[in-house]
């Protein structure tokens, strides 16, 4: 079934494409940020810089 979007199809398609793009950018940014922070924490811990508790900064348990 092909949807008929009428004479204003470009406005409808642009709206959905923009929403998809912005959501994809948000997800990508958050995923990249997570990777950056965990990498920086690992590098610091490898240099012997640890939390006062002695637990890993990446520890979530």
């Amino acid at each position: 079934m092909i949807m008929s979007l009428g004479p204003y199809a470009s406005f409808i398609v642009t709206s959905y494409a923009a929403a998809a793009l912005v959501v994809a950018i948000l997800i990508g940014w958050i995923a990249l940020d997570y990777r950056n922070q965990t990498q920086r924490l690992r590098e610091l811990e490898e240099r012997g810089i640890t939390r006062r508790s002695g637990r890993s900064a990446l520890d979530a348990s």
Binding site: F11, A18, A19, I30, Y34, L41, D59, A60
Partner: protein
Amino acid sequence: MTLIDLANPTRFLALTARVLPWLAAATVILLAIGLYQTALAPDDYQQGATVKIMFIHVPNAWLSMFVWGVMSIASLGTLVWRHPLADVAAKAAAPIGAAFTFLALLTGSLWGRPMWGTYWEWDARLTSVLILFLMYLGLMALWRAVDDPSRAARAAAVLTLVGALNLPIIKFSVDWWNTLHQPASVMRMGGSALDKSFLIPLLVMAIAFTLLFVTLHLAAMRNEILRRRVRSLQMMQASRVAFSSEMGAASRGQNASKEAGAA
């Protein structure tokens, strides 16, 4: 795990690790259902197929205000209860709220052109939402501009609470002023004015976008907690370097005085 336990960032990280995959899966499923229902929704008798823009415009517009509401509650947490995660929650929510507000403005503009004959009009609803968007950007700039997180947190919390005054203005702008924007048609006295064939996909999309916000917010809060751990470890490293260089300078000084004495 009680609510109080979540005040502990480590416990919060453990919770997000468990919950995030389920939330992400639920978001994807609901978004897929919502988009399918959106595709099947009939054309409006006046607007034709452009009514389909409503299914993404309205959830984004709701969320633009909801996210500021979440940030306002978090700001109270920062100022009144000094909850350790309150500022983390507010700071993590701001870029997500800004993105939803941007989408509300953009899709509204793309809906307005064929329906009103203009992309933009300086009426009360559109202008108050634009102000909300600018306030999001201002808050994000404030957090970046102040180095000390606790000082930035207090200033941002005050600004957020002042900005919350804009929320009722946005909500009631269509009643208080004569605007191009239509009045409320879903949440209003006397029930929704929308037919079920539009209302059900709209509600599914609204729940899906809300779940998307919760998922992204938890993930962004996790990142912010890790960022603060990076900062504290870097400060610890810097203080160790400063301490060891001071000790080195002191021992060099002692050696020099011993040598001078021997000479």
